[in-house]
C-alpha cells in the first residue's frame, strides 16, 4: 500500500520541459536611430546550432523595427534572410549571410545595427482641415556601387496603428523621378470619412526603393484633429 502510494506520488512530476522564458529583444537601428518597416513583412531567423537538425526560429519585425523572442538558455545565431528589409546586411561571401552570435544567459536586449539605403529625416506630420500634411527630408545612406534609386515615396493614413501599403485608408504617392531635392519634401493626403467616426488617424511616410521589396518608414504618429 505504501509502495503503491510512493509510486503514485513520484509519478506526479510532469515530464515536460519548462517553456522558454528568456527574452531576447531589440530593434533595428542605424546609428542608434530606429528603422521603421512594414508589420509582419521583414523576417529574422535565430539558429541554435549543436542539436543535429538545423532549422531556424523564424519571426518578423514589428513595424517600429522591434523584435522579441522567448528562448531557452544557449548560444544562438541571429541573421536576416537574403533580400529582406530595406537595408544592407553583411555578407561574408557572395550569397552567404553573416550572422550575429548571441550567448543567451538571461533576458537580453540587442539592437541590430544595419545600413539602410535611405533614411527619412525630420518627418513632421500634421493634420489640418481634413488633410494630413507631411514635410520631411530623405538622406541617401548608401552611395557606393550598391546604391539604389527611390521608386516612390508614399504617405499612408490609417484608422488603426498599422500603417503600410497593405493597411491604409488613404495614400498619396510621389514618384521617385518627380523628386527634385531630397531635402524638404512636402506631401499631403486627404483624410477620407471614417465609420464609425473618430477624431484621430495614424500616419507615416514610406520610401519604396527600386529593386527592394520592403519599404522603410518614418516613425508612426497619431494625429488628432
Amino acid at each position: 500500500m505504501i509502495l503503491a502510494l510512493l509510486i503514485a506520488t513520484t509519478g506526479c512530476k510532469k515530464d515536460n520541459y519548462d517553456a522558454p522564458s528568456l527574452k531576447l529583444t531589440g530593434k533595428l537601428v542605424y546609428k542608434g536611430e530606429a528603422i521603421g518597416v512594414e508589420y509582419n513583412q521583414v523576417p529574422y531567423e535565430l539558429y541554435q546550432p549543436g542539436f543535429g537538425k538545423v532549422g531556424p526560429i523564424s519571426q518578423t519585425f514589428s513595424q517600429d523595427g522591434a523584435y522579441s523572442s522567448l528562448l531557452f538558455k544557449g548560444n544562438y545565431k541571429f541573421t536576416i534572410p537574403p533580400n529582406q528589409g530595406p537595408f544592407m546586411w553583411k555578407e561574408i561571401a557572395a550569397g552567404k549571410r553573416d550572422s550575429i552570435a548571441v550567448a543567451l544567459t538571461g533576458d537580453q536586449t540587442m539592437d541590430i545595427e544595419v545600413t539602410p539605403f535611405y533614411m527619412i529625416r525630420n518627418a513632421n506630420l500634421t493634420a489640418a482641415s481634413g488633410k494630413v500634411n507631411a514635410t520631411f527630408s530623405i538622406e541617401k545612406v548608401i552611395t557606393d556601387a550598391n546604391a539604389k534609386d527611390i521608386e516612390r515615396v508614399s504617405l499612408y493614413i490609417n484608422k488603426t496603428q498599422f500603417v503600410s501599403g497593405g493597411d491604409n485608408i488613404a495614400v498619396t504617392d510621389l514618384a521617385g523621378s518627380a523628386i527634385t531635392s531630397l531635402s524638404n519634401i512636402t506631401m499631403s493626403a486627404n483624410i477620407p470619412g471614417i465609420s464609425p467616426t473618430q477624431n484621430y488617424v495614424f500616419a507615416r511616410v514610406g520610401v519604396k526603393i527600386a529593386g527592394v521589396e520592403d519599404m522603410i518608414f518614418s516613425p508612426l504618429v497619431k494625429l488628432t484633429y
Binding site: G52, N83, V171
Partner: protein
Amino acid sequence: MKKISFITIFAILLGTGSCKKDSAFLDVPPKQVLPTELAFSDPALVLSILGDLYNRQRDFSSLDGHPLREYPLSPSGDIVPGWITFADFSESFPSENGSSYIVQRTGWGYDEWRIWDYGYIRDLNLFIQRATAATKLSDGDKTRFIAEARFMRANYYFEMVKRMGGVPLITDPQAYDYSGNVTPLQKPRAKESELYDFVISEAEAIKDQLPNDVNEKSRATKGAALAMEARAALYAGSIAKYGASTPQVSLPGGEVGISSSLANGYYTKALAAAQAIINGSAGSYQLYKVLPDLADNFAAVFLDKSSVNQEAIFVEDFKVNSGKVHPFTTNNQPFSISDEGLDAGRLNPSLNLVEAFEKLDNTYAPLATKDASGNPIYYTDQLDIFAGRDARLAGTVLLPNGSFKGKRTDVWAGYQLADGSILTSGDAGQLKPLPGTSTPVQVTGKDGVINGQEFRTQTGFYIRKYLDPAVGSGRRGRGSDVAFIRYRYAEVLLNAAEAAFELGQVPVAAGYLNQVRSRAGLTTALTPVDITFDRIVHERRVELAFEGHTLYDMKRWRIATAVWDGAPMTVNDLVSNIGKATKRNTQPYGLWPYKYYNPGNPNNGKWLFKEILPSPVTGSNRFQLGNYYSQIGDDVLSANPKIVKQPNQ
C-alpha cells in the same frame, strides 16, 4: 472399429502432412503481395500499377482536391476540397465561411504550393527499372509502359520545377546499403534550366513510343508528350527572358533563374513542339466546335467526353459508380438548383475576371453600370448587361439569370427604392412588404446576394466551367465525373502564339490567337499590330481561367508582384486599365443586381447593378519575391546539407 480406423487415418494424415522439408514449410508464397516478377508478367497487372501512378500525378487545381499538405505528406490524409484549389488569386470569392481566410489573408506563406514527393519519383523509377527487367511482357507493351512512366516522371518534375525551381534530379531508384553513410544518397539541387531540359528531352525521347491516338485521353500519348514539351519550353523561355527583370530571384548556382541568353532557344523549342501538334503529326487534334451556341459550346469543351471532343489531349478522368468521382458540382452548384440542399455555391468567380472578357469588337470595356453623368443604367433582363461579350464569359461563368439544368438562377441583392435606400433581407425566405403595400414579398434572390451568407453567390456569379449538368451530378453520393483537362488544344495554340510572338513572328502569333478567339465569337481578326504582351496575357487569362494556370503564368512572367501588390483595390482600379497585364488584382469584387422599385416610373421592375466588395474580403493579396519559389522544408535542408535555400527566404 470405426473409431480406430478414423484415428489411424488421422495419424497417417498427420504423418504425411509433416513430411515436408522445414525449408519448404517456411517458404510460403505470400497471398496478399504480388512478387515483382509476377506483377510484371501480365499487361493487365502492370496497367493497374500504372493506374496508381497516374492517380498520383499532381495538378495545381484538381476537381477532387489534393492532400492538405503535400509535403510533408499529411499523416491524417486530410484532403483540400477540389473547389478550394480553384479559389484564389482574386479571380474568385470563396462563399464558405470556413474558407474566408483566402480573402482575409494579406499574402501567401513562403511554404505555400510546395511539393516534394520523392516517394512518388522513387516509385516511378522503380517501375521503370522493373518494367525494363520484365521478361514476360511483349515488347510493344513494355515500350509503351516505360514511356508512360517516363512521361509521368517528367510531368511531375515539371510540376516541381514550376513551384520549387531546380530540385534534385533523380532518375534511378536509389538504394541504401545500411552502411550508416547516407552521403551517396544526398543529391544537390539541379539547375532550374536542367529540369526544363530534362522535361523537354524526355518528351522528345518518348513521343514516338507513345500511341498516336486522339481518343486516348487519360493515358499518355504522343500529343500529351508534345503538349508537355511545348508548355515546359515556353515556361523556361519566359523565365529566362522575364527573370532578367528580377535579378533578386535567382541563385548563383542556377538552381533558381535561367540565363536570358537561353530564352530564344527555349521559345524555338516551344514553338516547334506546339506546331508538331498543330500540323497533325500527333493526331487530328482540333478546337471543339460542335454546338451552335458559342457559350454552351465552350462549356461543353469540359463536359463532352465523347470522341467528338478532339480538343482535350490529356485529362484526369472520373467515372460515376467507379469510386473515382469528385464533388465539384455538389460544392458549386447554384443554391436554388442544388441537388443536395445546403451543399452549393462555394466558388464564385469575381467581377475582376468577368470585366476582363472583351466586347465582340475586340475592345475592353467595364460592364456599364452607370451612364456618363453617373446615373444607374436600367436593364430589362439581367443578362442584358453582359450582351455582346466574348462567349467564353457565359461559358466560364454562370451569370445572374443564367441557365443550369433547365432552370434559371435567381440572383439579386434587393430592391433599390426611389428614395435611394435599399430594401433587402438577411435571407430569401425572409419576406418584407414593399413601401406602400402590406403583402410581404421576396426581396432578395434565392441564390444570393447577401453579404456573409455562405453557399450562395456573394459576387453575383457562379462557376460554369466543369459544372456537370447530368442528372444527380450534384448529389454527394453520386458525385460528378466531369474530367479535369490537363492539356488541351486551345492551350497548345496559345503556347504557340506566345512563343511565336516572343520570337518576333508576330503574324504567326496572330494567326493562332485568332483561331482560339473566333471559336469564342470574336470573329474580327486581330492584326499583327494588335498583338502585344498584354494581349497574350489577357488571352490566357480568359481562355484558361480556372484551369490552374494563373499562378504559374504570373510567376514566369515575373509580374506576380505587380498584379498582387498588396494594396487594397478601389472600384476605379477595377474598371480601369482592363486588359493590362500588370493590372492590380488583389481583392475579388462582386457585381450585385438590384431590382428598381418605383411604381409609375418607366424603369420600375428593371435591373441596375453595383460593383461591391463583399464584406468578408478584408485582406488584399500581396505576392512577395520570396513567393516566386516555394520554401524547401527545414527537415529537407537539415537532412541533406547539399540543398541550398531559396532566394529571399
